[in-house]
Structures are given as structure tokens and as C-alpha cells.
Amino acid sequence: MTDVLNIRNLDVTFATDGGDVHAVRDVSLTVAPGEVLAIVGESGSGKSVTARTILRLLPATAVTRGAVILQGTDVLELSGSRLREIRGTDVAMVFQEPSTALNPVFTVGWQIAEGLRAHGKYSKKQARAKAIEILEKVGIPEPATRVDYYPHQFSGGQKQRVVIAMALVLDPELIVADEPTTALDVTVQAEILDLLRRVRDEFGTSIVLITHNMGVVADLADRVAVMYQGELVEEAPVQQLFSAPTAEYTRNLLAAVPRLGSSVTRAPKQLDPAATPVVVATDLVIRYPGRLGGAGFTAVDQVSFSIAPGEVLGLVGESGSGKTTIGRAIAGLGNRPTGGSLVVLGHEMRNVSNAAFKPSREDIGFVFQDPASSFNPLLTIGEAVAEPLVVHGRAKDARAAAPRVAELLDAVRLPTSYAARFPHELSGGQRQRASLARSLALEPKLLIADEPTSALDVSVQATVLELFAELQRQFGFAALFISHDLAVVDMLADRIAVLYRGKLVEEGTGPEVLGSPRHPYTQRLLASLPVPDPIEQAQRRETLRLLREAD
């Protein structure tokens, strides 16, 4: 049987303002019919560029060498019209962000038919019938009515199903899925992975899966190609890769993946039960006002919890569960509580004035999700870390704060010389360390970390989490650690609270919540989390299926 796709000695170079960037170096890959090939790598490894080359979706600044042979034709040699012919019929693409991959002003039925019209004569009726058929196959309920819906009427997971339907409608031999589940919640991710598996089984389509998530790889892939800095470092069947990785880089990558249950061995922290909690929330309600006359949206609904001094509370939930809203309310950013009570460092946040709360800001540190945007691009790292000291009058200006800044950078293991650098001159992990240094500058009693590692690569994430744990032991601050990733929270938190649609559904120590979850949502969340082990993942998949059927 011939290969569906054969990439030979592919080389891609980009022209950028900073000179040429050699994004892909001499990569050769093959995909057999009905096979799922996962290309794994961290950001900047060239995995997306490789995948986009298969459809020749590269910007004009790219120059490619080598061959991408799809069904016997070299895609890189094709003219514009021939290229259009093979796109859709021979190879289709599923994008990362389903909400931007769909055009908001057309119905999904129209968008599916668009692909059909581009490749043959279909009457309106035929195209519609075909769209309904394919929507049904990807598991959209009531396809006959929903074919006339607009993208915003679907949930995120359903939108991704529609995108997959668009890819499938012309029955291509190969689907390139670029991080198809990264923008989705864990429970939805599991469903989309199931769908992709079914697509392979029922349609016999080969899939090139681009991902950075080892759990997703273990769940779906037959064969894995690992890329690092534009080069292919390892290629192996999935079980062999996980059980006996040969390349050094692969081993490190696998070791860096956070796993559930890694905190079980850790001794529980001794906390003083009599101490006044740093944060107490009692029946906390936060509502966003609706439009004029419309009902508001309740983001946080009757949530109660407390954080003792020196304790790390992990707050877990999917997007829209209200976890970030709670974090921001505690820091006095954005919306105030509209009901119940939220006491932070002795201030009732419902009616505290900004002026009264300002002195307490010294005692609160905040680490933001995206280290790239949380630094003023025009200030050096040194100036940014000195800002809190200057604002609270501990230092006259950035220069006077330099010794303390050096100390802080040292504490987060950044070279002191980095104080003179600008944020864009640091890598993501380094920036997040600098962000930690800034939030710790005033030695806060409470640190709020809002998804501090979700923008980072796995290997970088591991070192930042270790650093966080170490700093917490050293400085003894209380922390609210917000994340969507159970495994990450499990590594750091003394107690875990699970939020679901604004409600706190479960709270307890790590082993309690993760070992024997009581609430069905927590159970489903745990079962949905793909583990980086193909054999174990196959068993978990079965458990999840049973759990879903029980619902």
C-alpha cells in the first residue's frame, strides 16, 4: 500500500525583520492510509510550519525546499489552480481555534456547502442534504435544524465538530489537525478526540495531528514524530515512544509532563489552625450586569472558601467556571462582589474604597497568565521589578531599588544582568520568572497566580512550577493557584477546590479530591484528563465511556 503523504527532506526558511529564520530543517515523514501520525514539539519546534506546508498555507515570506508528495503529486510544485483542486479533496485542515475558523456571518450549512461548491456541481438542495448528513456524522444533534444556525449558536466543542465536518465533507484522504483540542476544555477535548478516532475508523482517513500535549498523543496517535528546533529528533510507534524513548530530548519532555498523584508522597504542611485566614469568602456572588433590561450573568454563585496563612489553595475549573473572576475580585481588579462576603486581609471587598484598600496591596502579589503581555514593553525587567518598590515608597526610583531587584532576580534564578534587558529579549519561561520576582518584591502575604503556566511549554512549565513551590516554602506566603489543569494544581496545592459553572462543587486535600472524587463533575473531569501513557489511557477511555453512559 502506498503512503498517503510522503515528506522528503523538507526545509522551510522565513524572512523576518531579524534576518532569516530556518524553521524546518531536513524533515522526512510518511503517513500510511488510515494512520494517525502525531507531530509533537514545543512552540518554535517547527511542527505547525511542517503541517501547514502540506497544504502550502505558508506566508509569502517563506521559502521551501524538498518535496511534499501527497497522493503522488508534489504539493510544492503545484500551480494555483491545481493546488486549489487538491485542497479539500485530497487534504483538509482542522484549525486550533474553532471560533475563528468559522465565518460568523454565514450559517454553518452554507460554510460546509462552500467546500462542495468549490469542487463540483451541487444544487442548493443536494449541498444542504450533504451538509445535514455530515453534521449528523460528526455528532451534532438535530442536524436538519441546526444546519441553518450561525457559528455563535454552537458551543466551543460543537464548533470544532462543525470544523471537522467541513474537513470531512469532501472525503479527503488526509486531515491535518493543528492543535485541534488546545482551545477546548478537558471534558470537551475527550469528546473531540473520540470523534477524530471515529473519523479514522469509519472514513479510513489518515490524520496528521499537531499537538504539544503528550496525553492527547497517547490517546489518539499510532505513530509519533518528535520535533525540536526545526529538526526531527525521534520517530517511533506510540507505545515504543512512551515506554522506551531513545532521544534525550524526548525523555526530558516526557519527564516534564505533570502527572496526577505526584503530590501524594509530599508531607502535608503544618498550618496553624488558630491563625486568621488571609481570605474568607462566604456565599460569594459575583454578577456581571446585563444589557439594559436584560438579565445579568452570574459568574460566581454562592461560593465559600478560605485560605489560611501559608496555605496554597488550588482553584480548578473549565473556561467560564468563574475561577479568574474570583482571583480578580480578591486582587481588587474589575468587578466587585455583588452578594455574600469576601474578606481579604481584613477588608470587606464589597464596599472597600480604593484608597482604603491601597495600603493592603503591598501584601498581595499577582502573577498573570501570559508573561508576554504582563510586562510594559518599554520598561526593562529591572525597572518593572522595581515598580512595586517605587510605588510603595520603599525606593526612590528604579536605580535606588537595584540591589533589591538583584536579590529578587537571584531568588527566581535569573542572572542579575537580565535587569537591563527588555521583556521581549527574554523567553516565555524567563519572563514568567521575572513576573514572579515582581510579585514577590514586597514580600506579600498572599499571592494570586492566574494560570501562570498555561502559556508555557511543558518543559518550561515544570521548572516554573518547581520554582513556585520552592519560593512558597522559602517566603511562606499564602497562595491562590488558579488553573484548568488538574495535574498542575495537584503538584502545588495543599487543598483543591473545583469550580463548575460558578459553583464550588468539591473542596478538599489533593488525595481526597483526586483520589476519591464525590461530585460527578469532578469524576468526569478526572476521567477526561488524558494521561501520557497509551496503555493506561486506553483503559481510562473505557472508564470515561462508562461514566458518560451512566449520566
Binding site: 523576518t16 518554535g44 509569502a60 515570506t61 481588579l333 499577582f366 510586562f375
Partner: protein, 336 residues
Amino acid sequence: MNIRALWYRLPVIRQLRQAVGLQRGMLIAGLVIVGIFLLTALFAPLIAPYGYSQLRDENGGFDAQQPPSAEHILGTTVGGYDVLSRVIWGSRTAFLVIVIAVALSIFAGVLLGLISGYIGGALDRVLVVIADAVYAFPSLLLAIAASIAISGGRSDLWAGVFSAAISITVVFIPQYFRVIRAETARIKAEAYVDSAKVIGTGVPRIMFRHVLRNATRTLPLIFTLNSSEAILTLAGLGFLGFGIEPTSAAEWGFDLNKSISDVTSGIWWTALFPGLAIVLVVLGITLVGESLNDLADPRLRTRRRADSKAPVAMAEASVNEEGLDGAVSIAKEDRA
């Protein structure tokens, strides 16, 4: 940081180094024209053969409407002035109007935009309505009104320059206001403003240290485009007869106005050269402005092609910038 690195970070210099191909050509052409204009304005007394209001030299009075000759390279006007001298001196007036108009409008516009964008609410809405109302006003009409108010229509150098400058200022303030307001509203939602808030930074410090410096990216662009508009307004005023008396300063628009009757009688030099001066300066400044605009946008900016020997397949243009951003991030990310 050494001087060289600092020099390369300056607005126009940085873009000049970045530009390639046609965009570089446009930028250089614009910069050369603007450079000549600035040098002419600066050294007008040295370059011009006569004064702007000079009607006679040691050989006696100038004749009116003389064609170009050795004595008067570009001829003389109907009033007997030397055309070349008037054109050269006119650059000074034009330069003054640009500097005063932009200086008056940029501070007010930026400050209002910053406050309006950052504070928001009712103040913002009122300011936006006022700005929109002013924006709808034709600038020339405003200039005529200002000119009459300041000097009763006929004026000396400063009154003429100020009437043009003030009318332009009134129209320009909303432009700076809108741009800075939009940028401020965007930056207000950035994480680094939030991170300044959580450490307890006061509002003025956030506005000036964190927001303002990041909001001024587009200013060089509006600055150049407004400069050309300032020249056109001044010339329009002069042409309509609200300009500056020839005895107090040279002004291209005034000279054009006086040359209307010449054109029909075959005297081309009195109209051509002041007109050409206006066109060239406006063209030069606009070229600089437009190139800066194109270079500021990564999608419009052309780059040198990646170094590559045959066989080269140029991928087709893609609207999606993702691949490109990815490539840039590779260049920037050194591993932690």
C-alpha cells in the same frame, strides 16, 4: 546601551534600516525632499539671491513680469519681486506653520485622548461628541474665520502664520485625540496595566508611565500627514487672499493668487514655481508618512527574501499571520 544601538531605535532611522525594495525607495525619496525643504528653510538668507520683499538692488529697481534670465533665474512677479527668492523664503513660512500647528495640537490632543481613553465614562462620551463636531468643520472655513478674528484678514508674518496654525490646530486636535484615545482604550485592557494596578500604582503614574509611552506609536505617521495638510491650508488661505502681505513674509499661496492673471497672458513662471514648491513639499512629507505607515504594519511590510539557492518555490500569500508569528517567536525565544 551604546550610542549606535540608541540611534537605530529612533523612529525614522529604524524604519529606514528595516525597509527594502520599493518601500525603501519611497521612504528615501520622501526623506530627501523633506531634507531639502528643511535645509532651504534654515539657510534661506544664504541661498536666496534677494530678500523676499526686495524690489531693487544697486542696479536699480526690478522690472515686473520679467522672464527667467541671468539676473532673475526664475523671473519676476507682477509686483516686481524675484520669484526664486520668494519660493526659497516661502519655505520658512511653511515650516513655521507646520511647527506651530503641530506643537499647539499635539499636546492638547494627546493629553485629552489619554484622559478620555483611560478614565472613560461620561467625560469620554462628551469629549468624543465635541471632537466629532469639530472634525465635521471644514478647516479652510475655520482658517478664514481665525484669520479675520486675528488680524481682520490682511496680516503680517506672525498674524498670518498664527491664523493658519490655529485653524489647523483646532482641526488636528480631534485627530490626535482619537488616535491616542483608541490606543489608550486598547492598552488599558493589557495585562501590564492590570499588573500595575494590583501593586497599587496611582492613576497618573499608570497613565503616563505605562499607557502614554506605549500609545504614541502612530504619532510620527499622523505628524507627517498633518504637516502636509498644514501647508495646504496655509497655501489655500493665501490663495483666497487671506494670506500674508508680501512685505512681511514670502508665502507660496499668496504668490499663486497674484499670478492668476499672468497665466492667461503666457507668463508661466510666476505660477509654476510656487505651485511646484507646494506639490513637492506635500509629496515629500506624504511619502515619508505613508512609508512609515506601511512599515509599521507587519502585513504591509515587505522583507528581503529568505536566502536560498534553487529550487525555490515561493509559497502563496496567506492572510493568516500565524506561521509568520511562529517563525518570529523562534527567532526571539532562546530556550530557558
